[in-house]
């Protein structure tokens, strides 16, 4: 009887200690960001490129920069800039960006790059400029999973056929059946190196389940939210592959017809 009691007691202790170990193993901070690349500028600043995802994927990518001085102190007053560059061999081009700004809470410079292509189509290099110096990170951008398309480049419609627009799905998203809030961005390809955000467009959205040939009701087409962002609601009546079709209208003129984003969940 006594033996059993001791055995039971030790079991409880063992269980308790196991539990404690586990709790300790779970890191509470730092895991949110993955270090993508790290380098030191000519002016001795350590520049770390971070992401909330473990790998970089085509499309809208929030990117974070941590700047430290040589002693390891956070630098919070640097001027940080992104310059992405796609080298396709015969040509080079950049892509839409949001220049990083310092966030005192995360102690990171937070910015965004739209990777319009994946590394299978050429080589991406992201130049991070810090206070006039710069480091160049070759980055590997993966394609999104088969059946999805999170960014597209579209020629202008009709009289605007010389123009090019980039339509990008804003990440992250967590699709579920039913009504989903979501955002897209629209940029114009001004030059190979300049992709300004396009504001004040009217967007008409039509989600379709292409393999079944039906749409869904009660969608709210994305509307202008400033700085190239458009917020809307999309209704997925079932899981599967959805295509969100967009027409972009500027003051009554359709400037892009047939832009689309492909979703699979």
């Amino acid at each position: 009887m006594k033996k059993i009691f001791i055995l039971a007691l030790s079991g409880v202790v063992l269980l308790a200690s196991c539990k404690k170990d586990k709790e300790e193993e779970t890191p509470t901070s730092g895991s949110e960001y993955t270090l993508i690349k790290k380098d030191t500028t000519a002016n001795d600043l350590v520049v770390e490129l971070l992401s909330k995802t473990t790998t970089l994927e085509i499309g809208y990518s929030n990117l974070f920069v941590r700047v430290k001085d040589f002693a390891g102190n956070i630098v919070d007053d640097a001027t940080v800039g992104f310059m992405p560059m796609m080298d396709m061999g015969n040509m080079q081009h950049s892509s839409p960006v949001e220049q990083p700004e310092y966030n005192p809470t995360s102690k990171l410079y937070e910015g965004m790059v739209v990777f319009t292509m994946h590394s299978g189509q050429g080589d991406w290099e992201l130049t991070v400029m810090v206070d006039g110096d710069s480091v160049a990170f070759p980055v590997n951008v993966l394609d999104s999973k088969a059946g999805t398309k999170y960014v597209g480049s579209y020629s202008g419609y009709g009289a605007n056929s010389a123009d090019k627009y980039i339509v990008t799905l804003v990440k992250p998203f967590n699709w579920k059946v039913g009504m989903n809030d979501f955002s897209i961005m629209v940029h114009k390809k001004q030059t190979m190196m300049d992709f300004p955000a396009v504001e004040d467009l009217t967007i008409v959205m039509d989600p379709q389940m292409t393999s079944m040939g039906h749409g869904s009701p009660n969608n709210i087409s994305p509307s202008n939210a400033g700085e190239g962002y458009y917020n809307g609601k999309v209704n997925y009546t079932m899981s599967g592959d959805w295509r969100l079709n967009f027409d972009l209208i500027d003051e009554g003129d359709t400037i892009v017809s047939g832009a689309y984003i492909d979703i699979l969940f």
Binding site: G147, K176, V177, G178, M179, M209, T210, S211, M212, G213, H214, G215, S216, P217, N218, N235, Y236, T237, M238, S239, G240, D241, L264
Partner: protein
């Protein structure tokens, strides 16, 4: 109830066929109330007795046990069946169906699991399970749910304690040539002074059937078995305990009128019942039942040729119901009998669809997004024996319904078409009064009024792209839908003389907030080839009216001529005709009884139904038809009450091509068919 089939001695009940039995009940009811100590039924309450002690015509049982439940229902005035295949026909009462009527098994609530209404609960019950089928065309105190159109209760056969024979039973088999249809069944009872056990089983299998001119109706096959058991234990003189279990499994069931068949349809039905009876106490009886049932249903399109289906789909569904009721009969005075019932149940529905396109990834959705309903209700009925001529039965039901969605994915699905909360509470119920006035020995007048409300079904609240083949639309639920309400009046007259009897009854059912589908133009259909999407919604008004007329004539005691006629007329708020309304239908028979032989010639006919709203409800006119059936029965009696019943019949003698108005997709019904059945009783 027990004496409700009481008939005059001039009518030899042994000779009656089932349509006549119904007529007899109509007549019997008027006499029964004279029996002070019984709670006999209203005139608008009918029973088809299949077996058991109440059954007077034992010869008929042999046939009834082998025909399908659908067949038994189809010859009842007021009931018409919606047909989607050669199996699982869905009953309608006077133009009302599904959530508008209550369909119960021994008072137990049970709900089909199929989103396309392939499995009305009558498909999970076989005549071998049943003592009788009870039809009411208006609310009454026995119902365990709210309805605007009465209901059907399948009363289960109970083992008989202290039966004359300790071991008794029936075994039988039958064959029908048309669909190569076989059925074989057995029921066995072991009875002692303290307890009795009844077990029954039936197996049915049919190939495709043939319409007139030997036109094969593809995908009309089915196979099923059903087994039931009832154990009754007499705890003491006044208390008995009863355990019921039924398992029913169907496989490979074709639905020629639909785009998919059924891989399997299974039901598990269980109940435990306590009965208290005291024949000289004021508290005359108390019946309390706890029950659980589960339906597992899976549609199947793999048997269909590839060109018929756009893509492969799996559409399984489940329905789980548990609940209880307790009802008591209390004699308030010599003139007042009070019936009180409390009941509660919970039903959980889940239906999903997974689609597998040739190109692209598989798609998944919930078509009934895990809806749940909890219902609690109270019924009160007073039967007032005013004087020797007049009886009035009045009462009501109050019911509370809580509906909700129980899973996250279900809640998310609802956001597709509804912004508000899934959870909702409703109140519904009815008040009713029915009176019978016996004007003379041969004549009685009966009538009543009631006001009833029913809550929308879970499908009508939460349904998500439920395809209706009749109007070729996908249906979406509507959480804001109002209760459907109706004011119903009925009036009838019974005449009964030595050699003939007539019963005529008319009804008017005036609806407000009638529930139907309203086109949602902005929605696109999910089902390929559908014409659009409708949402369940209320229309202001609808009116159903009609009646039944039965006549029976016995010019000589061996000969019986009868005619059962029903008619329903229904219009919506615009004056357009409502769907699922049967035209005038008439079943007429001549029966001749010669010693152990019994001959029956039957005519079944319906007039054309041209009262259709093709635009709004998708129905087309249906032509009239007339059929003739003929049957001969021979009974052999042996020692110790053993008997053999043999029957040969021809159905649709002239191989007439026809379909009925409620047959989905106008699929032709069975042509010429030869039937042979034998049953041995011991």
């Amino acid at each position: 109830m027990k004496n409700s089939h009481l008939v005059s001695s001039s009518i030899n009940t042994d000779e009656m066929k089932k349509s006549i039995i119904i007529c007899a009940f109509l007549l019997g009811g008027s006499l029964a109330f004279a029996q002070e100590d019984t709670l006999s039924n209203e005139q608008n309450y009918k029973e088809i007795i299949i077996q058991g002690q109440q059954k007077k015509n034992k010869d008929q049982t042999a046939e009834q046990l082998q025909v399908s439940t659908d067949k038994l229902l189809s010859t009842t005035p007021g009931i018409t069946l919606i047909k989607r295949g050669n199996f699982a026909l869905e009953p309608t009462i006077r133009g009302l169906s599904a959530g508008q009527i209550t369909t119960t098994i021994d008072g137990m609530q049970m709900f089909g699991a199929c989103t396309d209404r392939m499995d009305p609960i009558s498909s999970y019950i076989e005549p071998t399970n049943l003592e009788k089928i009870q039809l009411s065309t208006a609310p009454n105190g026995d119902q365990t749910g709210s309805s605007v159109g009465g209901g059907i209760n399948f009363s289960l056969m109970k083992a008989e304690i202290n039966a004359p024979k300790s071991i008794s039973g029936k075994v039988g088999a039958g064959y029908q040539t048309n669909a190569n249809n076989i059925q074989t069944f057995g029921t066995f009872q072991y009875s002692t002074k303290r307890w009795a056990l009844l077990v029954n089983g039936i197996y049915r299998k049919a190939d495709n059937y043939y319409a007139a001119n030997r036109r094969e109706i593809l995908f009309s096959q089915f196979e099923k078995w059903n087994a039931g058991a009832n154990l009754r234990i007499a705890l003491n003189e006044r208390n008995t305990l009863s355990l019921d279990y039924i398992q029913d499994e169907g496989y490979d069931i074709g639905y020629p009128a639909l785009t998919m068949d059924v891989g399997f349809a299974k039901a598990y039905i269980s109940a435990v019942t306590h009965n208290y009876t005291h024949r000289s106490n004021r508290l005359r009886s108390v019946e309390t039942k706890f029950y659980f049932n589960y339906v597992d249903h899976a549609m199947d399109d793999t048997k269909r040729p590839a060109e018929m289906i756009s893509m492969h789909m799996d559409m399984p569904g489940t329905s789980r119901t548990f609940g209880m009721f307790s009802k008591a009969k209390y004699l308030l005075s010599r003139k007042h009998i009070l019936n009180v019932q409390v009941n509660a149940y919970q039903n959980d529905l889940h239906a999903e669809m997974t689609m597998y396109p040739d190109v692209g990834s598989e798609m998944f959705m919930l078509t009934i997004p895990d809806g749940q309903r909890r219902t609690a209700g109270l019924n009160l009925t007073d039967t007032w024996l005013v004087n020797s001529k007049t009886r009035i039965s009045f009462g009501g039901r109050a019911e509370m319904n809580f509906s909700d969605i129980t899973t996250d994915i279900g809640e998310q699905t609802l956001t597709s078409f509804y912004n508000g909360s899934a959870a909702q509470t409703r109140f519904s119920g009815n008040v009713f009064a029915q009176a019978t006035y016996k004007m003379s020995k041969n004549m009685s007048l009966f009538g009543g009024v009631n006001y009833a409300q029913r809550p929308p079904s879970l499908q009508e609240i939460y349904g998500f792209y439920l395809f209706n083949r009749v109007d070729n639309h996908d249906y979406i639920g509507n959480p804001d839908i109002e209760n459907e309400a109706s004011i119903n009046g009925n009036l009838g007259l019974d005449l009964k003389y030595e050699q003939w009897a007539v019963s005529v009854e008319g009804f008017v059912n005036s609806f407000s907030n009638y529930i139907t589908g309203i086109v949602l133009p902005s929605y696109s259909n999910m089902t390929g080839g559908a014409d659009g999407v409708k949402q369940f919604d209320n229309i202001d008004r609808a009116l159903l009216t009609g009646g039944e007329f039965t006549i029976k004539w016995n010019p000589i005691s061996a000969l019986s001529i009868s005619s059962v006629n029903s008619f329903t007329y229904g219009v919506d708020e615009t004056g357009g005709y409502l769907p699922y309304i049967p035209p005038f239908k008439s079943v007429n028979s001549i029966q001749y009884h010669l010693s152990t032989w019994h001959f029956k010639l039957e005519h079944v006919g319906a007039m054309a139904q041209n009262n259709v709203s093709t635009e709004r409800y998708g129905e087309n006119p249906t032509p009239a038809f007339n059929l003739l059936n003929f049957g001969v029965q021979k009974h052999f009696s042996f020692k110790n009450q053993r008997a053999l019943h043999a029957e040969i019949g021809v159905e649709n003698i002239f191989d007439t091509p026809y379909y009925e108005h409620l047959d989905v997709m106008e699929i032709q019904r069975q042509g010429l068919n030869f039937v042979i059945r034998t049953t041995f009783v011991f």
